[in-house]
Subunit: 141 residues, 3 copies
């Protein structure tokens, strides 16, 4: 089993900038605050989004475009290092005007209004490395 | 960028009252324990619910009624002040008997059985104020 | 109202084993580390899954089989004791190649790649006991 113990360090409540792209925005907060490992949750609303679905056979992402405004019903993510830089990995559930849900890997989301709760973790270095079995960049633990 | 650093204070595990309305219930826990800033997650099952979708053009919520029992597949929320009082903001994903999902802002949810994990945060005052751009009450940070 | 205060103890980042069953895997991590109370979140992708919907009238679970690979868009869960042993309770939102979501109680999920953030809690004993009203095993608080 691969896991490591961390200590909770700084905790942030963040109001994402209206019009910003959420994944880049969280990455910017991480770089500005020298955050290397973290987990976060977010709720709010997006103007548009792109979700990803990973094809486990072909080892490639398919993109699903959401070209209308939607609720960000749920977003869970984490920050770790990839190529030495803070890398944001997030999944999300979006909902349209009828409450119908689309979900997946959050490739991009344009912020209407989003509230983020981010917890920095301190401990051993957490870096993503290519994994041959899945074709993904996974945590070296 | 607007964000503030908080310290994790008290942590609660809560079994919501059967038949209670979840948002009010969490507000009551907050008032009883003098909680002013917090984040929480919840899972369980609801007897019925109302979801909200925010119309980003008209600046008003549409309500989506779920008049049957459902799984509370996911609920993320936070507590901050609004008009000086603890205010609960939550989003949820609900699932019917076929696993089909409805999601959005959780306006109300009648508890069948719900488990809540709540983390109080200490730090600077966190108050919602009307935001002209979105028409929402957003965190002053 | 039924709730108890806990202290955050150890925090783990976990890379679930490829091919493992997620609920059992988290239970194994709990037993190996003598974890009796915890909350966790997870994101990733599953090879297949079984979701549950609790029939609130008949007091029984219906099972929903997902026989294809899917994104684990969201997973929230907790660990408490049941019959004296660590018991994992989790709910999940899954997404197919079109982003369409299925959600509910996570009965089982075969891991393609899953990242888990687990927070151990210390405090009074947390044990599930049969609840006559719902037919579920709920926290004694």
């Amino acid at each position: 089993m691969r896991y490591a113990e961390y200590q909770i360090a700084r905790t942030f409540l963040i109001r994402a900038d209206h019009g910003a792209e959420l994944i880049s925005f969280i990455g910017k907060v991480a770089r500005e605050n020298d955050i290397k490992v973290a987990t976060f949750t977010a709720i709010g609303a997006l103007k548009s989004a792109k979700l990803g679905y990973y094809d486990q056979e072909k080892h490639e992402y398919r993109e699903i475009s959401i070209n209308s405004s939607c609720e960000l019903a749920n977003c869970l993510g984490n920050i770790s290092l990839k190529d030495g830089q803070p890398f944001v990995h997030a999944h999300a559930v979006l909902a349209d005007e009828n409450g119908d849900a689309k979900a997946g890997h959050l490739v991009e989301g344009i912020v209407f209004a989003v509230e983020v709760f981010l917890q920095e973790l301190k401990g051993s270095k957490l870096e993503r490395q290519p994994d041959g079995v899945t074709g993904l960049a996974l945590w070296e633990l």
